[in-house]
C-alpha cells in the first residue's frame, strides 16, 4: 500500500471520528440535563434538603452496614452447622430447635444404621438358613428406619437453609429500623437549620 493511499484512509478515519463526536454533542440536551424540575425541585431549598437527606442516608447506610449480616455468609454457616446462621442472626430459639432436631435425626439415623450393620455382619457370616433369614430381617428393619431418619435430617437441613435466608433478611430489616430509630431519636442532631437538642 502506497503512502498517499494510507494518508487518505487516515484522513477519512479522522473525519469520521470528528463527525461522530460533533453529532453526539449536538444530540445532548443540556437544558434537559440541568433542569431541576425533573427531580421535583421547584425551589432552591428543595435541592438543599434533598442533598441533606442523601447525606443523612449515606451516613445511616454506613451505620447499617456495620451491623447488617451477609445472607450468603449465614447460609454457609447453616450449611456447615445447622442453626449456626440463625444463632448469628440472633434467632436463638429457632437455632436451638433446628440444631436439636438435626442432632436427634442424625443420632437416630446413626443408632439404627449401627444396629442394622451389626445384624448385617451376622447375616454375612451365617451358614444356617434360619439364622441367615432372621439376621437379614433384623438388619433390614433398622436399616429402613435409619433411611427414614436420614431423609428427615436432610429435610430439616434444607428447611434450615431456607429459613436462614428469611431470618437474616428479617434481622437486617430490624437493624435498619433500629438505625433509623436511634439516629432520629438521638438527643443531639445537626440539621441545616442548626443544632437540635431534645430533652
Amino acid at each position: 500500500m502506497s503512502n498517499s493511499l494510507l494518508q487518505k484512509v487516515l484522513l477519512c478515519l479522522i473525519f469520521i471520528l470528528i463527525w461522530v463526536t460533533a453529532s453526539a454533542q449536538g444530540s445532548f440536551d443540556i437544558d434537559a440535563f440541568t433542569d431541576p424540575a425533573k427531580y421535583g425541585w421547584t425551589q432552591w431549598e428543595d435541592r438543599i434538603n434533598y442533598r441533606y437527606d442523601l447525606t443523612e442516608r449515606q451516613k445511616l447506610l454506613q451505620l447499617y452496614e456495620m451491623e447488617a449480616q451477609s445472607i450468603s455468609g449465614n447460609i454457609l454457616k447453616s450449611a456447615v452447622f445447622p442453626g449456626w446462621g440463625q444463632f448469628n442472626a440472633r434467632s436463638y430459639t429457632k437455632g436451638q430447635v433446628i440444631l436439636a432436631v438435626e442432632i436427634a435425626m442424625l443420632g437416630s439415623a446413626y443408632f439404627f444404621y449401627d444396629r442394622a450393620m451389626d445384624n448385617y455382619e451376622k447375616y454375612q457370616n451365617s451358614t444356617q438358613i434360619d439364622d441367615m433369614n432372621a439376621y437379614y430381617q433384623d438388619a433390614l428393619v433398622p436399616y429402613q428406619y435409619s433411611l427414614v431418619f436420614m431423609t428427615f435430617a436432610t429435610v430439616v437441613w434444607a428447611y434450615n437453609i431456607f429459613d436462614v435466608v428469611q431470618t437474616t433478611e428479617r434481622y437486617n430489616a430490624e437493624v435498619w429500623q433500629k438505625t433509623l430509630r436511634n439516629y432520629y431519636n438521638a438527643p443531639v442532631q445537626i440539621t441545616p437549620t442548626g443544632i437540635q437538642i431534645r430533652f
Binding site: 442394622a116 448385617y120 447375616y123 454375612q124 451365617s126 451358614t127 444356617q128 438358613i129 434360619d130 441367615m132 437379614y136 438388619a139 433390614l140 436399616y143 429402613q144 433411611l147 427414614v148 431423609t151 428427615f152 429435610v155
Partner: protein
C-alpha cells in the same frame, strides 16, 4: 409435605440391603438349602444301664440335597441348643440311627439339621422339630 412423604417412601422401598452372603439361596439361584429333617425320635437308656445313652433316629434326606447332618441337644424344648455331633451322609436305608452317650440321668431334647457343601462353604438347612428322651438312673 406430600413430596417429602413420597420421597421417604421411595427411599425406603428402593434402598434395600443387598443379600450378599454367598450361601444365601435368595440371591444365588444355584444354591439350594437342604430340606428340614423329619421323623426325629429319641429314646433314652433304661434304668440300671452303666453307660447311659440316647438313641436318635430320623428319616434320611434326598442324597442330592444333603451331604450330612448336625445333631443338637438342649435341656428344655425352648432352651438354647448346642451342636454335639455330626453325621456324614448315608446312601442306604430310609433312616439314620445315632447313639449319643449321656453322663447324667434326666430329660434331654434333641434337634437335627441337614447340611450341604458348596464351593463357598457349608450351608445348613432348617432345624427339625425337637424330640425328647428320658434317661433313667
Amino acid at each position: 409435605m406430600l413430596i417429602v412423604t413420597l420421597l421417604i417412601i421411595i427411599l425406603t422401598v428402593s434402598c434395600e440391603l443387598k443379600r450378599s452372603n454367598p450361601l444365601d439361596p435368595s440371591s444365588h439361584p444355584e444354591i439350594e438349602a437342604p430340606p428340614r429333617v423329619t421323623g426325629l425320635t429319641a429314646v433314652g437308656s433304661g434304668p440300671g444301664v452303666a453307660s447311659k445313652y440316647v438313641q436318635l433316629e430320623w428319616a434320611i434326606n434326598n442324597i442330592n440335597q444333603t451331604d450330612g447332618y448336625y445333631i443338637y441337644m438342649g435341656l428344655a424344648y425352648n432352651s438354647a441348643y448346642a451342636r454335639i455331633d455330626e453325621v456324614g451322609n448315608v446312601s442306604t436305608g430310609s433312616t439314620i440311627t445315632r447313639v449319643i452317650p449321656i453322663e447324667a440321668p434326666g430329660f434331654y431334647y434333641f434337634k437335627v439339621s441337614a447340611y450341604k457343601n458348596y464351593p463357598d462353604g457349608r450351608l445348613e438347612g432348617p432345624l427339625s422339630e425337637w424330640a425328647i428322651a428320658r434317661v433313667d438312673n
